[in-house]
Structure formats: structure tokens, C-alpha cells
Subunit: 557 residues, 2 copies
Amino acid sequence: MSRPDRLIYLPLGGAGEIGMNAYVYGYGPQDAERLILVDLGVTFPNMDTTPGVDLIFADISWLEERRDRLEAIFITHAHEDHVGAVGHLWSRLRAPVYARPFTASHASRKMEEQGQDPAQVIVTDPWPNKVQAGPFQVSFLPVSHSIPESSGLVIDTPAGRIVHTGDFKLDVTPVLGDPFDRDLWAEVAGDGVKVLTCDSTNVFSPNPGRSETSVGPAIRQLVERADGMVVATTFASNIARLKTLAEAGQAAGRSVCLLGRAMRRMVEAGVETGVLTDFPKTISPEEAGNLPRENLMLIVTGSQGERRAASAQLSRGKYMGLSLREGDLFLFSSKTIPGNERGVLQIVNAFSEMGVDVVDDDADLYHVSGHANRPDLARIHQLMNPQIIVPMHGEHRHLREHVKLAAESGRTGVLAPNGTMLDLTGVTAQIAGYVDTGRTYLDGTVQIGALDGVVRDRIRMALNGQVVVSVLIDEEDEPMGEPWVELMGLPETGASGAALSDVLEADLDQFMGRASDKTLADDDKLEEGLRRIVRQSAQAEIGKRPEVKVIVSRLSA
Amino acid sequence: MSRPDRLIYLPLGGAGEIGMNAYVYGYGPQDAERLILVDLGVTFPNMDTTPGVDLIFADISWLEERRDRLEAIFITHAHEDHVGAVGHLWSRLRAPVYARPFTASHASRKMEEQGQDPAQVIVTDPWPNKVQAGPFQVSFLPVSHSIPESSGLVIDTPAGRIVHTGDFKLDVTPVLGDPFDRDLWAEVAGDGVKVLTCDSTNVFSPNPGRSETSVGPAIRQLVERADGMVVATTFASNIARLKTLAEAGQAAGRSVCLLGRAMRRMVEAGVETGVLTDFPKTISPEEAGNLPRENLMLIVTGSQGERRAASAQLSRGKYMGLSLREGDLFLFSSKTIPGNERGVLQIVNAFSEMGVDVVDDDADLYHVSGHANRPDLARIHQLMNPQIIVPMHGEHRHLREHVKLAAESGRTGVLAPNGTMLDLTGVTAQIAGYVDTGRTYLDGTVQIGALDGVVRDRIRMALNGQVVVSVLIDEEDEPMGEPWVELMGLPETGASGAALSDVLEADLDQFMGRASDKTLADDDKLEEGLRRIVRQSAQAEIGKRPEVKVIVSRLSA
């Protein structure tokens, strides 16, 4: 007897953080559903929890094990948290990647950079064009966001229509790229929407969102009134903002120079794919260096305080031969993402020391968000009028609040954090099960599991310092010479005033002298004893218990 | 010929960060000035820049070398960034410590905890009482802040009167503790003020500050409407807020329980020193555990997301036998200090997962700042009408903005970051020189310099991982057996699919086989070669260059 078909939803990433989006939909008999994946993004590491890690992906093991059932991957837009993992993870999934031209240009580059075939990325026209992917018909539905060509997905299934919003805002004048087209979305809703899977990022923002166009006048005024060089930073992918900034420079009679690889690359991709037209002429850093500073406007990467980006480098001195000085103006046309405050403030203070005036967006004049605020979300709920609302793209608190927002207008929202498989076949959503999810770290060139212990060990070394103990044992299991220690990340002297290494070595030597034949013959016992001595002795001497590595060298070995 | 007397100001900490306040004033012949120190605080470490460090102090080496000239230490109030280093650093300074009773009770405890004589802390009455300290007459001038008994200092010198504001706000209804007394400050200003050394924390806040009293109604309403247990957190030292919270609980018929050592200690100190009266009766955690949750209000430590505080522990499960669950309410009656966002959001999301409703101060309803905002600073400038304004207690950006604020009303502000010695003898401030300043880390029980390299090594291990290479060399300088490696914080396998340790050992063994007699006989050469091999080999295998420690064991040694 064959099992009935069902429609499932399974977030592997993005429903528990703002980042590493990866949402699975499936349709078919239980455990034999044909699958599609929406987005394959990254999230960024930090020193607190992921020191040394380069990028973080959703753990896609569940999907990898079922990749024979995976029909296609759809990328909603070109932000790193939606497309950033495509190159790194594609070889584990091997399904065609669909995206609109600007997004596809980024996805292809990411494939190439990781040695994958860029032809796997298929440039796709938007609604009403549809991609057939097994039982799914998928169409890109243009919408406004903070990057060109962002799209929701209309996913038609035998069980009904799903609208997956992607990241979006309701902007009818977005400077460039697709405006929010209410009639188009109403047309999609007209046939009935079963499920609205909806961006939750700004659910705590109480006022309606503002248009990208609204920041133009304030920026133009600021640039016009500036005396020295003007430098502005924003997210490199916000090409509309780049254009607004560059036009403000041009209007003030300034030559515009783009600094930072990501920024130049975004503008190039925008021009190549036709989403960006009429961008003011830019000059090279070399040309900029030859102009009077009051005739210059730099637009630079690094709005989040990233250490290697142009902003941070300028705050430490020169970048590409250019530097700031007293009387210059630096504009953050951006908001600081929570967790990045320290890096941003370090830059602001460094500029302050140079006498540079820093203007940020505290007064909400020079930046608008790319996400739908609370009232905008309520509007889209009403417009799409779905049976079920599934909040996505948010931390747990955002998802939970979005469910409450749905309830405020009598709608049904379902809280489904990463790993929650929903059965959406019926009139209401059912929890179909839980899947182990997690994170995969890109560390150098290696993918490691978040729970492999590698990062845990790094954090321990960083917090506690490290002692390496080395002992030599001869063929008769007798110690040869004295144990010695190497210290890393530990103070040289402690309470006694003697060198910490001398104190530890003396205590270890005593232990070796006292150790029984049985202990000396047993690596595990010996290591355990030596480790204990180091930790006790260090605790007394410096008030810390370091990590300890014991190396027993046996001549007989 | 004797040199003329001069009046100097030298910030060792606090003028370059919000934290670790330590300001020196001196009067007398150049390089023989008699000195006083205002405040001796800490700042807090973070994983980005100071992993494993327990506390951070200003580097007081300059003052320690001149401690025979140090007359006294004055503590303006009991916040950690003003009093926190007293116990740790007193033995390097050995001067009497003056403070008002509540502050003195904290300072004494800190002395005792570090094995110093608490009798060195002298309880002092406020203005008009004066302490004679060499050429200085110093008086504590009561002012409102977010802790009881905060005080400015009136420092009379032969060159004129200095008013050092300490941390302050202009609150005439501060719930408890000293209100801002305009007439008193005007009386002090009446005799003429030469220098106003002034708090800069809130110079970027454009609106006048609000009174502590203003949060009461919103908090009472929130608690009254809550169904389940109510838990509120704020800074433990904000006793006025604790009282407001506790009274809101009491008014709603709830029993109040304080959780967290710092909170109970603050309330005890408040009662003992008489600054706190009529605090609602509290119950123990055990009693709380026996009450219905709708009859309970917990007030807990950990508003900044500190991992070991009550809030964080409750977000992970039980604390003192109490736990939260669906339908409970958690209130952050506090703002998140920049840099602490990640820890706070982790707690918020953990509560969200439990179904707890979290209310924060996004809407400015449940918290007010303890610092004077921009218009309040302008008011105090006008009221005190000093010859010179010296901004203090701020990052560089705050100090610089405060100088601009002074200029807006035609006053002279002087930018003097940590280490800048000002000569304040004349009508205008002169820069008298620059002193090397920096930070001292308390690491376990040891004080280490910020530039000692200890923390740098920890950060490197955390970012890059660590390889320990061990080789045995016999009496004839020939290798015995093969080199072996131990990995810490590194992935087990890399590009080749073989164990990373096997790959490294094979490459190292090859190197040993090729190594010349000269290399084998020379520890430095051998170590350098082995290190290079590990880094090259790891780069190829895992795309990272780890930290490498080489241990050469020589039988001849």
C-alpha cells in the first residue's frame, strides 16, 4: 500500500539566526518526497564562539543523504547569507541552481572560485516564467530589498501554492531594481495561497519601513556642506545606496572613487547584468591621490568594522595610497549589525584621533533597512491571505514574535526553528518530526562540524593558556633527565617571583622522583599525574589552570 | 633657583574608554608636584582582544614611581570602573583612600578581599567638609547618578578651584540618594571655577536626561498585568531601580526575591550605610520555590549577559532551584553596553525557546541612563562657568565631541586623552607632555602588561590552532625514531583525506632525513626548519598556518 503524498517544510538554517539560510520543501510519499532547496547561505564567525573559523554553513547532512531526491536549488538573492555557501557545498548536493541574472552572476563566480562548474547555475526569468522541479513549479517573484533583483518564490505544489518571501521590503521607489509591485503580488495571491513563508528580521521594528529614496536628500546635503574629503561606507551589495552616494558626490562637484574589492565587484556585476545604469563615472585610487581632497568622494567597504576592509585600513593609516586627516568626513550609511559594535567603534575612535568627523545613522537620516517592518509584515499577511504563516529568517525571538503578530490579526503562524519538519498538506500545519541540524565550519579549506571539538579546544587555549610537558623515559622505564615545560599564553612569573616554568619543572621533577614503577610504565597514568601537577602548581602560582599537553618520549618505543 | 609651582592634570585611564577611570592632579614645582589620584577603576575583558583575562586596570607605573609624592586617593562612587581596582593596586600606591560611606563600604571590602588593610579607607563627609591632601583641599560634592552617593569633587588648589564632576546626571527626583542640587553647585561655582573636568559618556544623546522616577509607572503597569512569574534584571548597583522594581512587585501582590550575589550585597550595603530605607521585604530562593509563580517577582543579576550571572543561568535552566517557563515575563530594565549584545541576545533567544516573554528597553520605557545628556552637559557648563573644560570619562569620540559642545557656547574645551599631561596653571591649558600609559591585565592572580605578548599568543592559538613537534636526538646528534606531532584546535583530516598528524609527521621525517649535520646539531636551525615544514604542509593540507612549538630532546643534554 503506497503512502499518501505530503507537503513538507524543513529549515536547515535561517530559522534560528539571521544568516545561513537554507530551507527545504518536499512533496511526495513520506520519506520519498521530491525535494527542493531555497537558498544556501553563510553566517559569519566571531571570536567569542568561533575563533579562527572562516565561514559558517548550515549542516546539510540530512539533505546530502537524500540528494538523489533533490530536484533543484533556488537562490532568492545575492546576499552572502543566501548565496554564500553555494560554491562550498554544491559538490555535496549536485542539483541545478536557479537564479535571476544578477544573483546568478554571483552564484556562478562562487562556483568557479571553489572549482565547481558555473554552468550549473541557470539564469532564470521571473514570474510568470516557471521552473519545473519534480512536483514543484517555481517562479521568481520580484520584490524590493537592499540588493537588486531580490525575489520571493511562488512554489506551486499539488497541495497548493506556497509563497516564500525571501528577504523583502515594501518599497515602491527603491532607486534601482524591482519596486514592490502590489498588483503583481495580489495577482499571485488571487489564486489562493496555502503557505506564506515570511522574512522575520524586522518584526520588532514598530513603524512602517521607509523607502530607499528617502535617504537621498540628507546624504546630498551632508556631502554638499562638507569641506574636506568625504568618505562613505555602506554594504557593498546595496547598489542603490552606492548610486545615491555617488550621485551626491557628483552633485557636489566631487570625483567618486570606489575602494574595496567587494564594492567594485558589485558595481561591475550590476552594470554587466543591466540592473545598474547611469552610475556616475568613477576614478581610480591613483587618480584620486592626485586630486585636492575637497574634490573627492570615496565610497568604501567595511561598514561592519571588518578588520581587512577599506574602512578599517583607512582608520589604521593608508589604503591604496589614500588617507584621511583632520577636517575630513566619514559617513556610515549603514547600521551596525548586533555583535559588530566593538569593531565599528574601534574605527570611529581611530578616526576621531585623526580629527575626522564621523557621522553615523543614530538619527536615522542616512540609512534605511532592507526588511519589512512589523506593519509591513501585517500588510503582506493581509495581501497574501495565506492559510498558514511560517516565519523564517530570524533568531528564535523574531520567529516567535512573528507568530504573535500573525495571531494579532487572527491568522495562524507556526513556529518552526531549524530542524523542525512541518507537514503542510492539510489545512493546518503539523509537526512531522525533528531533524538533527547544526553548523558546519569552513576552517581554512576544511569543513568541520561545530561539535568536533576543534573550536572548543581553541577557546580553551585562549582562555586558559597552554603548557606542554615533555618527559623522556629510557628502555627500563626510568626517567632520563628532568621533565621540562613550554608555556604558551601564560605569564612568565607568578606569586613566588620565580619563573613559572622553573616552578612547574621543579614540581614535575619531584613527582617523577616519587612516581611508582607502575606509573612510569603506563603512559596514561603518567600523563594524568603530570597534568594534575601542572594544574595544581599553576593554580597556586598564577591562579589559573592551563590546558596541559603531555609528551612522553620512550626510548624503547 | 627654584622652579615655579604648577597645576597639572594627567588621565591614566578613563580618557579613551568608558571604564578604568584614574585621573591624577598635581601641584608644586615641575617634576616635584604633590599628587592626588581620583578614582581607581577597572574595565572588563572580552574574547576579541583579551581572552582569558579577568580584569583590566589602567597602567599606574607612572604614579607608582612617584608614590612618595602621592597624598591621597579619592573615590567618587562605587561603580566598578571607579573603585574596582582599589584592592588590586593599592599596595603599589599606599596612600589613604577617601570616600563617602556607601562607596567606602565597597572600597573597604575590595581592600579586604585582596589582603589589604580596610582601615586605609577613610569615610568622609561631603561638602562643606574638606580633606587636606598636600596643597589640595578636596570636598565631596553630592550629585545624582545611577548609584547612591555619587559625588563630584571640589578640588581647591593654590592656582584655583577644580570641579571634577565624576559620573553624574541632573536628576532632582532620583528615587533614593542625593538629588542634583542646583543651588549647592551654584554655591561652589560662586567662588569661581578654573577647571571643570567633566563626564562625557552621553555627549551624543541629544535630549535632556530623564529622572529615575520616570520609569516607575511603566514598570508598575507591566508587573501588574503579568500573569506568570516576573523576573527583572538591572545593574546591581542601581539600588534606586532595585527599589522601584521591588515596589512594583509588592504593589502587584508579589513576593520579591533577589538572585545573584552582587545584588544582595548591594542592597545590604545600602541598608547598612543608611542610603537605602523601606526596601520591600524579600524572601529567600527556597521560599520562592514554594510560592505559586504568579505571586513571585525575581530581581536578578546579569543585565549584560554575563555568563555566570543569574540571568544567564536561568536562561540555561535552573538557578537556586528556580526556573522560568512559558507564560513568564523577563524584563531588561537596563540598556546593553556596546560589545555585550551577543551575550544578551543569546539569553533573550534562550528565553524565547522556553516561551518566556522578554521585554527590553527598546521603547525607552523601563530604563533611564545615569549620565548627563548633551543639553545637561551644556547646562552644567553654564552653571559652573569654568575657564577651562576638560572632558573625561569617554572614548576618544566622546571627548572630542564634548570639546565641540563646549565650543558651541564659546567655551574652551581641551582634548586630553590618557597620558596627556596638561598644565592648568595659566588662563589656558597647555600640554605639558605625554606619559606612556596603557593597560594592566589581571590574569588569574597575576598582573601582566598588555604588551607582554601573553594575550597575543592566546589569540594566535585561538585563530590558528597549535602544533607541537617533538624530536629526539641522540648523543651523536642523530635523530632517534621519527618526529611526532600533537595537534590542538586543528581538524583531524585535510585535503588528502589522511590524518593531518600522519601527513605532518611524514613530511617532518623526510626533512629530518635530509637535514645536514649542522642543522641537526643546532637547536635554533632545527626548530626553524621543522616549524617551516609544519606550516607549509598544513597550509597545503588544511589551508591554515598553525602556531608551532618545537621540542628538541637531546640525550646528550
